[in-house]
């Protein structure tokens, strides 16, 4: 039998100590406490989350070791070893609680983020849909603008000696006076009728657009008479259009005489360009 030998050995070793010798049960308990404590203290989670419990386990274990080394009572060795073992297990459990709680928080955060992402995706889809609708609307508008440009161009080709250009004020059609009037007069020539028909047709087709009719002359002659002539000519064009059923309030007729020349009045070619009626098609 080994046991009596071991016991007697221990008794010999501990004889100098105190009240009692270390019993096999105390030794077994101490060994279990050491192992459990080592297992717990090696766990970084325990070190981090259950430091206080681990420290109290350590205190009990040190006390058990001290008593064992000094030959303290086996009951007290056993008692402290038992406390060390229980507290080590409690420290392990505390760390596992914290771990589970941390995992719960992570899981919730992940779900929250997933839901947020889903909401953001929905919002992005809604925005994209809105943008697509806006784009369609813009295209419609731009198609309308293209339509207008095409019509103006058609007007330009249909009316001889008419030039059209797009400006900040809208489209401007320039009609040479030679096309519309005899020199010095404000009576429309028969040849002007087709141009006026086309213009009236255009205005009927675009009831949302108002126009301005602006008369200009060259600088030959007195400024006053030129001013009056340009006014009468603009008014004559307006009358011709209202005579074709266009509402008067849509047409603003004005004369500017020799002001705002578009070319030099020093040459006949330049003066011819300056004698003109401009039809300004306002932007809608």
């Amino acid at each position: 039998m080994k046991r009596p030998l071991k016991l007697s050995l221990m008794a010999a070793v501990l004889a100098a100590g105190g009240c009692a010798t270390l019993s096999p049960e105390a030794e077994r308990q101490l060994e279990e406490a050491r192992a459990t404590y080592r297992f717990a203290s090696d766990d970084p989670h325990v070190q981090r989350y259950a430091a206080a419990e681990l420290a109290s386990a350590s205190t009990a274990l040190r006390e058990a070791e001290r008593l064992a080394a000094e030959g303290g009572s086996p009951e007290l060795v056993e008692h402290n070893a038992y406390l060390a073992e229980r507290r080590s297990r409690t420290a392990l459990g505390s760390a596992q609680i914290r771990q589970a709680e941390a995992d719960i928080a992570v899981t919730r955060e992940e779900r929250r983020r997933t839901q947020l992402e889903a909401r953001e995706r929905e919002a992005a889809a809604a925005r994209a849909q809105l943008l697509a609708r806006e784009r369609v609307e813009k295209e419609k508008v731009s198609v309308a603008a293209t339509d207008l440009a095409a019509e103006v161009k058609r007007l330009e080709t249909e009316l001889a000696d008419v030039r059209a250009k797009q400006t900040d004020r809208g489209w401007i059609l320039t009609l040479k006076n030679e096309l519309l009037f005899d020199s010095g007069g404000a009576t429309l020539k028969p040849g002007a009728q087709r141009a006026l028909d086309n213009l009236a047709q255009f205005l009927r087709k675009h009831p949302e657009r108002d126009i301005a009719i602006e008369g200009f002359t060259d600088s030959i002659g007195s400024p006053d008479s030129n001013q009056r002539l340009s006014e009468r000519r603009a008014q004559a064009v307006k009358d011709a259009l209202t005579g074709r059923g266009i509402e008067s309030r849509r047409i603003n007729a004005r004369g500017f005489g020799p002001s705002f020349p578009v070319a030099s009045n020093a040459t006949e070619t330049g003066r011819q360009l300056n004698r003109r009626v401009e039809i300004v098609i306002n932007p809608s």
Binding site: G18, C19, A20, E25, Q29, S73, E75, L76, E78, H79, Y82, L83, R86, R87, R89, T90, G93, S94, Q96, I97, A100, E101, D103, I104, T107, R108, R111
Partner: protein, 102 residues
């Protein structure tokens, strides 16, 4: 059985004579706290703690104060372990529920 070993301890040779008032209070408090949640999840440790506390109370009655002190300390350690393990199991259940999406 090892957990009950101390019940049969003789009075320790170097016993103190002061009643272990704070140890008893701590043990009672911890056992009560564990009883509230550990009845199902840590039944065995809770039962051990309750039994040791009862023996500690009895030892107090007999004025075996050192014996009572040791039993009270063990009862507290057992109850704390029971409480911790019950909490741990509940937290782990909550985690499983959370992960399964509820």
């Amino acid at each position: 059985m090892k957990r009950l070993a101390l019940f049969f301890l003789p009075l320790a040779a170097c016993a103190t004579t002061e009643p272990p008032v704070s140890e008893m209070a701590a043990a009672r408090q911890m056992v009560a706290q564990a009883r509230a949640i550990a009845a199902q999840d840590a039944a065995q440790d809770l039962a051990t703690a309750q039994s040791k506390l009862a023996h500690a109370e009895a030892a107090m009655q007999r004025e075996q104060y050192e014996h009572a002190r040791l039993l009270a300390q063990q009862a507290e350690a057992d109850a704390k372990l029971a409480w911790t393990n019950a909490e741990k199991l509940q937290a782990q259940r909550a985690l499983r529920e959370e992960r399964s999406g509820r």
